[in-house]
Symmetry: C2
Subunit: 102 residues, 2 copies
């Protein structure tokens, strides 16, 4: 337990964003690369490890399997976390712009 560090990692942030629309693991990789303009490419280790831990936290849930594909989607809980994260990021941007333009 720490003081208040609710910060999501960039990987987790994009995984959660991707799962607003149900999607399977490989689809998350593709959407993340696309959303970030090719900048962020999730490694398999990051992605599949995160899918396990995010289920344990109750932020995403499995939807079933279609052939080889395992689909997941964001839970209501996960959506709340995402909304809070966007607010945190907006705080960072606001502070950054203020201090950089002295």
């Amino acid at each position: 337990m720490n003081n208040a560090n609710n910060a999501l990692t960039e990987a987790v942030y994009y995984i959660l964003l991707s799962l607003i629309e149900p999607k399977h693991g490989y689809g998350i990789m593709q959407q993340t690369a696309s959303l970030s303009g090719g900048r962020l490419r999730l490694s398999a280790g990051t992605l599949y490890g995160a899918l396990v831990s995010l289920q344990e936290k109750g932020w995403i849930e499995p939807l079933g399997e279609e052939g080889r594909k395992k689909e997941y989607r964001l839970t209501d809980n996960g959506r709340s976390v995402l909304i809070a994260e966007v607010e945190r990021l907006e705080e960072l941007v606001k502070n950054g712009k203020e201090l950089l333009n002295h």
Copy 2:
């Protein structure tokens, strides 16, 4: 070396922002708590560990000591990193807002 993960941690981000104006370690703690509305309180372990690694990266530099206080300031290199980070954060916010409001 990884694909393109230039993401700063929240702690490092606020430390760099604080050092736009020269400041000593404890002053960074105070400004960070203030800027984040009390949300983020850097632990001593995080702060002093980061001050060492940020010097090694050349993003901050020591200015000298005033009694017990050791002052640091952002380098030009550190400033560039900060500017890039604000741009990255803006991308995250933009994507988050777009996808959350489907």
